[in-house]
Symmetry: C2
Subunit: 167 residues, 2 copies
């Protein structure tokens, strides 16, 4: 399911936003072989959160549930994608790097899964992009969660990303 | 390069140790599709540390350097493999899970890389296996590092693993 970014970009056409999300998916699958191996797809996006989906099959571990490296990778990419879509929507050219991540594995995942990323409470895209455009460097914190069917968290990620403006 | 576990298992034959490491590699590649996608191979092992290797090619990101998810996955698997080899050498049947990880991405990696895992200072395999065999559950902390050619760290992982005895 894909949604528009009406809130973040009130003047933008919905079809342009859908293309941005499709472009993100293609960018990840083309540029990151492991994203292709994990069969990641882009799901819901409303400007403030981004969901990535992954099937269990290519992401299992020796126990038959989701491999921790896959959970961490999908949660990291959800955070990275959230920041990238926000930069692209503002036509701000930058490279976005993950700086550090704290991952908690809380429960095994026995089915296809998804990770949803939000900015960490207290951080704003406005503050991030102001630092990026005025000082050439911005930092932002993201929390990603892989939920179970009952809504509880199977895994969480708290990450810091840094973006460097392209000259 | 593979080494024996003489220190940890003074009575063990070197060829049996080599088979244990080969078995670990086959176990990971057979049981974890993402390990296969990352083309991970088992390197040096002396009972107190384990090194896993990965080529850059299947592990690049959109910038052409190593994908953070690959670095985190290889560092996590190095820690998991270190604990698994130690359990296998003692014929202790258990399932080993990663509980949480803190990953710091310090510098980009532009070439084939490896991750070496050690127990965190202060933790011992003796204490871990005593808890596992007497209480059915053991916890151990591991630090993994991906070094650059100059010896500095490109990425570090501090992880906690929990092992549950199989009944």
């Amino acid at each position: 399911m894909k949604s528009t970014m009406d809130t973040a970009c009130p003047g933008a056409r919905p079809d342009a936003m859908i293309r941005a999300e499709d472009a993100l998916g293609a960018f990840m699958l083309d540029g990151i072989p492991l994203a292709r191996a994990m069969a990641i797809s882009v799901g819901a996006h409303d400007g403030e959160s981004l969901t990535l989906h992954a099937p269990l099959g290519p992401n299992i571990n020796d126990k038959g549930c989701a491999f921790g490296g896959s959970l961490a990778s999908v949660m990291t990419l959800a955070g990275w994608g959230l920041v990238k879509l926000a930069a692209d929507a503002r036509s701000i050219a930058c490279e976005i790097y993950v700086q550090d991540t704290l991952v908690r594995y809380l429960a095994p995942v026995w089915e296809d899964f998804h990770a949803t990323a939000h900015l960490t409470h207290g951080d704003t895209l406005a503050g991030f992009f102001e630092a990026l455009t005025t000082r050439g460097k911005g930092r932002v914190r993201v929390r990603s969660v892989v939920p179970l069917a009952d809504g509880s968290a199977a895994a969480t990620l708290d990450a810091r990303f840094v973006a460097l403006a392209k000259r």
